[in-house]
Structure formats: C-alpha cells, structure tokens
Symmetry: C2
Subunit: 501 residues, 2 copies
C-alpha cells in the first residue's frame, strides 16, 4: 500500500460540478492492486488535502500509463498542477450510513447521530445517492421537534460560526414559493440605513427560478470571503453575501444540491436549513415571512401553523428571537421572475420609480418595519412608517449603493438575447396564476443558471385582458431552452383566464 498507489495528475478538463470523479486506466497498478472498478469510491490525496471521488475506469489512450485525471472541482479542491503526484486509497468506511438506514426504517435519531451524518455530508463524503436517501428519510413528517433541533445544531456545528460581538444582529428570511418575491435587498438597505447591523447571507435557489444570492450576483460581487464580509458590514452595517462562499452551515449546500433535482424540500430540512444559516451567521433577531397560497411553498393555514410552531420551537432551543409573518401567497410578487429580471424590480423600488412594482415595495416595507420593531428601532406599530421614510427619502437607495460599492461595485443586470411574449388566447379576466407552473417555465428557460433568463409578467390577478394581449414574456439566451419552456407552457399555461360572460 505504498509507492504503487501514486499516479501522476493529468489535466483532462472534465466538469462534473461538485461531484468528484477520478479517471483511472483499467490496467493501472493502483486499480489492480486495490481492486478498484468503475463507481468505486476512493480517497484521493495530494499533500495535506484529500477528497472522496468516484472512479470512472478508462479503457482508451486519453490517459497514459501511470496517469490519472480528475474532474475540475476535485483537482481545484486538491490544488493540483499537471504532473503532480496523487495518492489513491479506498474510501474510509462511512459508519454514519447505518444511522441513515436507521432513519429510513423509522427510528428516531439523537443529536450525535445527526452530528455524524451532517459532518460526513459537509466533508463531501456522501454521494448524491446517499444524500437523497437521507433527505427522503427525513421528509413526510418523520422528524419530530427534537430531531429538527438536533439537525439544526449539527448543521451549525459542521461549519464556521460568526460572532459579531454585539446584539441585536438583524436578519430576515422568506420561506419562498412566490416567484419574484425579492424583498431581501430592499429590507437590508432600509434596516442598515436605520443604523442596525444586518449582515445578510443568502443562498442560491433550491427549487425556485432565483435565490437572493442569484439576484444580487447580477448587481454586485456576492462571493465574499469572511474577512471582506466583516469589512463591508463594519463599514456599512449590511451586506449581500452568498453564504456558500463562507462555509456557514456547509452541509446545507450539499443537501440543496440534491434537493434541487429532486424538487424536495421537507419541513424539517427547511427549518434546519434556514435557522442553521441564521445561527451560523450570528443573527439574534429574525423576521420570517411565510407566504401561504394554493401554489406557494406553504399551501394551507394548517401547514403554516405546523411550520411556525416547528420554527419557533427550534429557534427558542437555540436562543434566537424570531417573529413570523404569515403573508398572502396567491400570485407572484413584482414582475420579473429570474435573477436579472428580479434585480431590475428591486432597483425600481429602491430608486422610487413611478412604475416600480407596488406589491414588492409594500412587502419589503412590512418586513423592514417588523424588523425595526423587533430590534427596538421603532415602537410597536410604527415600524412600517419608519421604513417608508427611510425608503422614500432615499436613505435606503444610498445605503444599497454604498454596500454594493464596498462589495466591489454596483453593476447593471443583463438582458436576455431572446424574448418571446405569450399572449392571451381569449378575452376575459385573470382568474389564477399558478406559481409553480410559472416557476417551472422560468426554470426551463434557464433560470437561475442563466442569470438573464426567466419571465416578465404583464398581468395581475383580477385584471381584465383582451384576446391577443401579452400575458408574460419568456427571456432566454438560447433557442433550445426557449423551445423547451414553450413546449411546457403549451400544456401548462400557468395563467387561468375566465372568459367574459
């Protein structure tokens, strides 16, 4: 188990995102000595660094004898240069998988069990298959309050925890499911303009066409490291940072990577994901927005009550002051759905444009007002008015610009090369807008991976519409994805029109 295990790294430039793959010749000494075959999991080491990877066996001349290739993410994680020696050994036995199996078979897990599972996930030791099994086992009401609390703590402990050395530290979160509901950048600008500290870290989209980090990335740099983030927050009181760059609750990113293609987001995972990020980011006072509607993430008042109780239980167990707002979630917020289109709406509200989406503005003021009250910056009942003043007098817009400047500069969001407008097939009233179908169309058009892709919505519920009048415009950057989005829209129209009598 010594010299024979070393192979020379060859750059073969294969991108498999965060799934680490090692390419090894079938006839190489390491494969033969160790009994490696395709899909074996191995530990690849170079110096002090190591990653787990899946073996793909090569039967051709793309590798010379003694060479091995690695997927891009894996070679970056190891900091490899071509020709560098890498050592390959069997993956360590993953003892935590027996805990996953216990959960699958309906047993309760304790705090140590979640710590072991989450630590292995955060190290990248689980394949997507293992993570999928864990997520499915924790969904569907199979996690009680204690387990959810323990899962949350395990997720916090698996990464960095920021201590800001003061209180309150404000934060907010929206449970999501409403396309275009991009209040966060506006709320941060208002709250920081009021003099509070709100070091906002956001995630990318899980199952939606855009997360706040995706939207803010179209406007400024969001992948700040910890030192830069501290500098921005100490200077401006707020920031817009992608949490994934900070190793805050790092397991969450691995979980999200699997939740996204499975389109799976359970209550326990939702609570643990949200609260672990807030706790790791050092938040002490949090306002949580739960939109409820037939096609929002939370569909009924009963579901919302259950989720609220779970959230409050876990928040209290971790010493977090949490205020939950249940809001209407019947239709999209603003007009844009997709990173760049939502950024455009955010700028319109901050800049006080006459045609800025009023629903987005009102929601942001509501949340900012609650947060100002929760952090004792406004008497109860006076938060909304205070927030409105900070927005209307331009303080919030100036603060937004200052934060973006501190993060590396404010830029213009892009515009899609291809735009195609879907028109109403009949005259009538807009009866319902299906958030899920609309999100699906935006995602098929390329959002969030393609920042300029998405939907620009031209109608609101209850409005009268003429036959042939525009319903929404699909934005895409390639004809293939546009066609794909239109194919889906043809059978899932997303907007239900009641004909006039």
């Amino acid at each position: 188990m010594q010299a024979a295990q070393h192979l020379k790294f060859k750059h073969i430039g294969i991108d498999t995102r965060q799934e680490h793959v090692i390419f090894m010749r079938r006839d190489c000494a390491v494969c033969r000595a160790e009994g490696f075959e395709a899909l074996t999991r191995v530990l690849v080491s170079a110096g002090q660094r190591s990653v787990l990877a899946t073996v793909h066996v090569v039967d051709s001349a793309i590798l010379a004898p003694g060479e091995a290739g690695l997927s891009n993410h894996a070679s970056q994680a190891l900091g490899l240069v071509p020709g560098q020696a890498i050592a390959v050994t069997h993956a360590p036995t993953l003892d935590s998988l027996s805990l996953v199996r216990a959960k699958i078979f309906g047993h309760r897990l304790d705090a140590d069990a979640f710590k072991d599972i989450i630590a292995d996930i955060a190290r990248g030791y689980y394949t997507d298959m293992h993570t999928a099994a864990f997520l499915a086992a924790c969904a569907g009401g199979r996690m009680n309050e204690q387990e959810t609390t323990d899962l949350t703590r395990a997720m916090v402990l698996a990464g960095e925890v920021i201590d800001w050395g003061q209180s309150p530290i404000a934060d907010k979160h929206c449970v999501g499911g409403l396309p275009g509901n991009r209040t966060t950048p506006i709320v941060v600008a208002i709250v920081a303009a009021a003099g509070l500290m709100m070091p906002k870290t956001s995630s990318r989209a899980i199952t939606s066409p855009a997360g706040t980090a995706d939207v803010m990335e179209t406007l400024t740099r969001v992948d700040l490291d910890m030192a830069t983030m501290r500098r921005v927050v100490e200077r401006e009181g707020g920031c817009f940072v992608w949490g994934g760059a900070l190793a805050l609750s790092p397991a969450d990113d691995f979980l999200i990577r699997v939740e996204r293609p499975l389109d799976l987001d359970s209550d326990a995972q939702l609570v643990a994901s949200i609260l672990s990020k807030k706790l790791a980011a050092g938040a002490t006072h949090v306002v949580l927005d739960i939109p409820v509607g037939p096609s929002a993430k939370v569909r009924s008042q009963e579901d919302a009550e259950y989720l609220e109780a779970l959230m409050q239980h876990v928040a209290q167990a971790h010493g977090l002051t949490l205020r939950i707002l249940r809001t209407l979630g019947a239709e999209p917020v603003g007009r844009g759905v997709g990173p760049a289109l939502e950024a455009r709406d955010v700028l319109a509200v901050l800049q006080g444009h006459k045609d800025a989406p009023q629903d987005l503005r009102a929601r942001a003021l509501l949340l900012a007002g609650e947060l100002l009250e929760l952090c004792a910056q406004a008497p109860d009942g006076a938060g909304y008015q205070r927030a409105q003043t900070l927005l209307d007098e331009g303080n919030a817009w100036r603060k937004f610009q200052a934060i973006c400047a501190a993060q590396g500069g404010l830029r213009e969001p892009g515009v899609a090369a291809i735009q195609e407008t879907i028109v109403s097939p009949s005259a009538g009233f807009i009866a319902e807008i299906d958030n899920r179908q609309l999100s699906r169309i935006a995602k098929l058009a390329g959002a969030p991976a393609t920042a300029v892709a998405g939907i620009d919505l031209h109608v609101r519920r209850g409005e009268r519409i003429a036959k042939g009048a525009p319903l929404f415009t699909i934005h895409a950057d390639a004809p293939g994805v546009l066609a794909y989005a239109k194919d889906y829209q043809a059978s899932h129209p997303a907007i239900d029109i009641t004909r006039e009598a």
Copy 2:
C-alpha cells in the same frame, strides 16, 4: 433544433457501469444552443435507439470540435461505431417524479402510479439519486399490502413474462442474510431430476457477498438469452440463469444497483423483487425459505410473521401457490462465503463428498422435499426422503452436469491468489458468529465482483477452539483489498469466543 444538435461519436472508453454519461465540449454548438451544463440530463439518440445520459462538460482537447464521447454502457446500448452521428436533446420531463415526491410526503400510491414510476426506472430514466429517494420513501413500513401488490405487478409488467404452457412450474427462493446458504443449485438439480420443470432464474447479490447467479457463473455460463434458456429447460427440465440477461422485471436490476451501495432492502421492495421475478419467469409453485436469526436478514419471529403475511397476500393476489419455511438463521451455511468458495461447497454436496458441508446438504434436501410435495411429486411428509434418494443415487449430480453442459459446459471455480488465515486470539468456545460482519469482511475482500474472493470458515457455533487455531481464511486477489478486509476485521472480529472457565 435540427442540424446543430448532431455530434460525431468518439470512442473515449470510459466505464461508468450502467450510469450513462455523455462527454461534450463546453464550446460545442449543441451545449450552447440548448443551454446544457454539467450534470444536465439529456436524451441521446442514434437511429431508432435512445438513452438518457448525464452531461459531463469537457474543457480540454480530448474531444475535437463537433465530437462527443459516451460512457461504454451507453455507446453499447446505442450500438455506436466511431464517427457515427448522435442527436442530443433535453431529457423528457419525468412526470413520475411527482409521484415519488407524493410517496416521500407520506401519501398512498395507486397501481397506475407504481406503473409510471417503475416504467421510467426500467427505461433507465431515473438517476441513482431519484431511485434512492424512491427506495427510501418505500422503506420503514410505508407500503401497505395493496401498494406492495401494485408495485409487484408494475415490476412484472415493465418487462418480459414467460409462459411455459404447463403447470406446475417449480421455483424456490431464500430471503437471504445467511452467508454461504447456496441451496438453489442443489434444489434445482434434485427437482429437475424428479422430472419437474424448474426454470431457475437468479439474481446477483444485493447486499450479500454472493447471489446464486454470481456462484453459478463460476461453474457455467449464466447470461443466457430467452431462446437458449427455453432450449435448456425443454431438454433438461431445469436451468441456472442470471435473470438480468432476460429483461424479467428489469426495473429490479436498477433498484438493486442502488440498494446495494445503500445497503437497503425494505420489506415491500423485498417482496416485490422476489415475487415479480418469480411471476415474470412463469413460476406457479414456489417454496420460500426465510432464515431467522439475530444477524440474518430477518432477525425476529415477529419480523418473519409480518414478512410471511405480506408475501402470502401478494402471492395470492397474483395467483401464485406459495409455501413458506422459516428456518434457523444463527450462523453461515456451508464453509465458503463468496462466489467460487460457495460453488466449491455446492459441488461437494452434489458429488457426495465425505467432507461436504452437512448443514448445506440438509437445507437443500428440506427445500427440495417441500417443493416435490407442493408440486405433487411426493406425498406430504415423504418429500425429504424422495429428495435424499435423488441426491444419494447420483441423479441430481448427473442432472446438474447435464444442465451445465446444455448451458455451455461445466467449469472449475477459480482459487484466489492471496489467502490469509485469521486465528483465534484465545482458547475457548465459538459463542456467536455475526453473519453481517462476516459478510462485510467477504465483501471488503472483493466478493462478489471478484469471484474468487471471500471467506472460508473453519469453525461452527459451539465448537471448542485452541488459541492460535484457524477461525477463517480470507481469500482475495489483491493486497489492497486484503488489507482493507483485515483492517475491518481487527475492529469487527465477526466471531465471538467465550473463554474456557
């Protein structure tokens, strides 16, 4: 969406087993036009054939502009030759995933739902991640009798169903968990020697160190096609065929591929897997052996009762005559654990060697006797005696040789290059043998992928043992895997020795 989608196939010889991967240049017209990025799922077509594959994006010169590579299994499935044109489009929307999500969230699924899910799995449309989520959602008592019946039917309908045009068609199955319990080849030989038809199809190992197909493959060809299997059975009355080559319940192989690394085998999946294979193979009369023991697959009498009731319910719903035997499952059967080592034990019993494992012989006679009774070839209570006569007079061994000859010839199982014996650290009695730990050691040594790998057990429960006397010998074909097996054994000794007073 026409000409630009075509790429020229280049053979790059990358083995990813049944996980289909397409390698495409980042700058290729198809990637850009269609918006493909790493891990996108795509439909790859050549002529009338198509497969779903996962995109790996290539940033290097291993592909020239206009070329695409495919993993070996995918290019074989498409029947590609180098330079052949392939078309790449977005994968069809997998509507059945919403049914998987419903199951994850605790809803009951109906027959149509299982049909849709299983059809997509059998087509290879699910990634391992999707399949893992489905399996986890169906485990832990979350499937009722009706769902298990419907799942079984869906699995039968997704593939071929053989009609032998006569009755009875005998079959047997052992629920497993006992290392070395390789009665099937002996039972088939006895039952076919009695003149019954027993067209045995077997699977490879799921979580054990060997399945019957793995064992028989060390003795003869088992990957027969349907026509060859019919010819063998019509001539000899029996056969030993790997079911995976026949498209009988083809979804089962995809499920097993994920169950194996997850080490996950739920009651509902177990019943559906076993009975769908039997029904698709045309069986009418089946004897099922359920070993019960603290480290067998079924650990308690209550678990066995539950499983038996579920098996009988599903069998009756499908018109199958089923007799279930509950047997002792406290320790391994025979001496060998692993394909070639178990084959050696089978031959010893069939050939009537003096030192043949008596426990393996007795179990095979019991099951063969029950099957002879169930198929009215022996009066109740006289089956064991009839089976013993057929074995002891050499009819079974002659039938076994004749079947192997018809399948392409009988060969000798191989022997491992590396053998290392683990000895007793103290004098005493063999108190317990942990089937799971023993299986784990055999698997770490390379079984079943390495046919000669496994364990040769030298002791039985209750025996007295001297300090330094051999407990078992690990067989391996590479020092790396031997070291890995020994590492595990050092902390999980598998055999518990009570010191003499």
